[in-house]
Amino acid sequence: MPVRTIEDVESVLPQLNRSSDAHASGKHCLILARHLGRFLKGCPGAGAEICCNYFVVNLASNCHLECTYCFLQAYLNNPALVVYTNVDDLLEEVRLKVVSAPDRMFRIGTGEISDSLALDGITRYSRRLVPSFGSLSNVVLELKTKSDHVANLEGLEHRGRTIVSWSMNSRRITREEELKTASFEERLNAARRCQGWGYTVGFHFDPLIHYPGWERDYREAVEELFHAVDPSRIAWVSLGSLRFTGHLREIVRARFPRSRIPNGEFVPGNHGKLRYFRPIREEMYARMREWIHRAAPNVFVYLCMENRAAWENSFEVVPRNTEDLSDQMDTLVRISS
């Protein structure tokens, strides 16, 4: 594998941009770099009307998996895959933050602009993060993935402070739109292995995709999921619908002309993002919540990046506000520890 030293991660841009598909070329270029600035940030979802108050840390930027709808295609200026090497700085920043506020609970994820575990076979970062978070009392780490690279998690001192989560979808969407990812079964097998190692797991049906036949496909996905894993060891299940920008839609059309995703009935929502027309979202959320609670009545289900109207029209019990939802989720992770 050719290796070279560069001064600036942006210096690869001219070469990548010459390619007919810079996004695809970027996935073949792995840059190891130091992260400058702060690692810990509030999740951008904090702009939603009712939000879970989540934190994110980015140990990598971009992802070598190939989901057709991935927002990173339009979000990142640099299509190269960047892995940050100063993990100790990240751990120290997190430690100082959580120690400074011992009365509050922190939920922190690494899967905002990358997949938490897709590269773990190479980086082995989980072997440093999990024990480190395990040594703190008022924080949980959520590793969110579409891969089945969980081998490094075996035997770690997680002390219930790590939740391993899978982004899930219907089999059809997994197969046709989440390219190069682990299959539906592989994700469930990986979740089952993690439960076997004592981890609590989570599932995120996000983005839900509306297409002819979605009801049957998603109902089957929910039933299979709860048949495969122990519902009592599930921290939460989130639901979210596809969010798109106009630019992303153009990219998807150009890069994946067979994708049916841009065909949804979208309307501009907050921050200029396109979303399914609200009744479509509400119907999907309501049915999903119903199927999930039929299979596992006690599992905590919440909506990601949604407004109050969508909550009220699809859930029986609605959090009063962001603080209420955040408190409920903090309680879940306190109990699960």
Binding site: R260, N263, V267, P268, R278, R308
Partner: protein, 324 residues
């Protein structure tokens, strides 16, 4: 520079490989030649062909031929001091020296550089796009190269200002039957540049949803009858066709809008009281506004609102669908 008199019959005026100009028959050129004759020599190329090729001067030579001229002043370049690329440079610079090229001429110059002279894409982007006053980006090049193969009707509509440059580029990138069909549509219906973009976006989406070609989207009966309707102006046709496409693309949203309008009507409020939903119904919020200029007007509006509040139709205003 030595110019010589060359007989028109010694030139192959029909071979337009170095041609840049889009309009070959400007009205006043003939008159100018009649009045004061040829002021500047044309540039010719002596290659392997039996006749001389024209580098610059297509318009002058055609005008001379039309007015019965038999010869023209010309400078002749030989293959030893001028290859195809150099000849094309002469043609480009000769034009750029006294005017800006229009988009079709730029497209022709770029296509000739690419196909006739085999100039690589990178050089076209980095050297020739800035030379022609464009941003050095591969997408710009792609658009202009597509434009070069535009259907004649689309070329004409671009020149007439009936379609925007970006519309012409998008149409040109499509298959021939699409270009022909859309040219027919654009002949009869008119849109602003932004509405043209919107119509083409809707067409692209619907073609993907209906799994048909983009030309077939316009074959719907409703669109066909709108295009044929003699009572409508081209802009009215454009507006109606855009509405039809939007309704097909956004059936639920369109139904919600219609439903809201119909429920609002049932409330029988005066025109001075306006009810409007949240943009795209993202929340259940409905905005109520009224304009009054007197206390009496205020009382009247309030009374009408009170009556509307007792109207069972009011509940329907807050429902997005007929289901609930």
């Amino acid at each position: 520079m030595i110019a010589e008199e060359v007989k028109l019959e010694a030139m192959d005026i029909e071979d337009e490989r170095f041609r840049i100009s889009e309009d070959l028959d400007p009205v006043r050129l003939e008159e100018s030649l009649r009045q004061i004759g040829q002021l500047h020599p044309v540039q010719l190329f002596r290659g392997e062909h039996s006749k001389l090729l024209v580098i610059c001067g297509f318009r002058r030579l055609r005008a001379l031929r039309r007015i019965g001229g038999l010869s023209a002043w010309a400078r002749i370049w030989s293959a030893s001091d001028c290859d195809a690329l150099a000849a094309l440079h002469i043609a480009i610079w000769d034009n750029l020296s006294h005017r800006d090229l229009n988009p079709l001429e730029i497209a022709r110059a770029l296509a000739s550089l690419k196909h006739l002279c085999s100039v690589p894409q990178e050089t076209l982007v980095e050297k020739y796009l800035p030379l022609l006053g464009l941003k050095p980006h591969k997408n710009v090049l792609r658009g202009y190269l597509a434009l070069h193969s535009a259907h004649p009707q689309i070329r004409q509509m671009l020149q007439d200002g009936r379609v925007s440059l970006s519309t012409a580029e998008r149409l040109s990138a499509g298959p021939r039957n699409f270009q022909e069909r859309l040219a027919q549509v654009f002949e009869r219906a008119r849109w602003s540049a932004s509405a043209q973009r919107e119509v083409l976006d809707l067409d692209e989406d619907l073609a993907s949803i209906w799994e048909c070609g983009p030309a077939a989207v316009f074959d719907q009966e409703e669109i066909a009858s709108t295009l044929k309707d003699e009572r409508l102006s081209p802009f009215e046709k454009g507006h109606q066709i855009r509405e039809i496409l939007y309704r097909c693309r956004n059936p639920r949203l369109s139904a919600a809008k219609e439903r809201f309008l119909s429920e609002r009507k049932r409330l029988e409020l005066p025109a001075s009281v306006r009810l409007s939903p949240d943009p795209f119904f993202e929340s259940a919020r409905v905005r109520v506004e009224f304009d009054i200029t007197s206390a009496k007007g205020f009382r009247d509006a309030a009374e009408k609102l009170q009556r509307a509040a007792r109207n069972p139709a009011l509940e329907g205003l807050f429902r997005l669908t007929n289901d609930g």
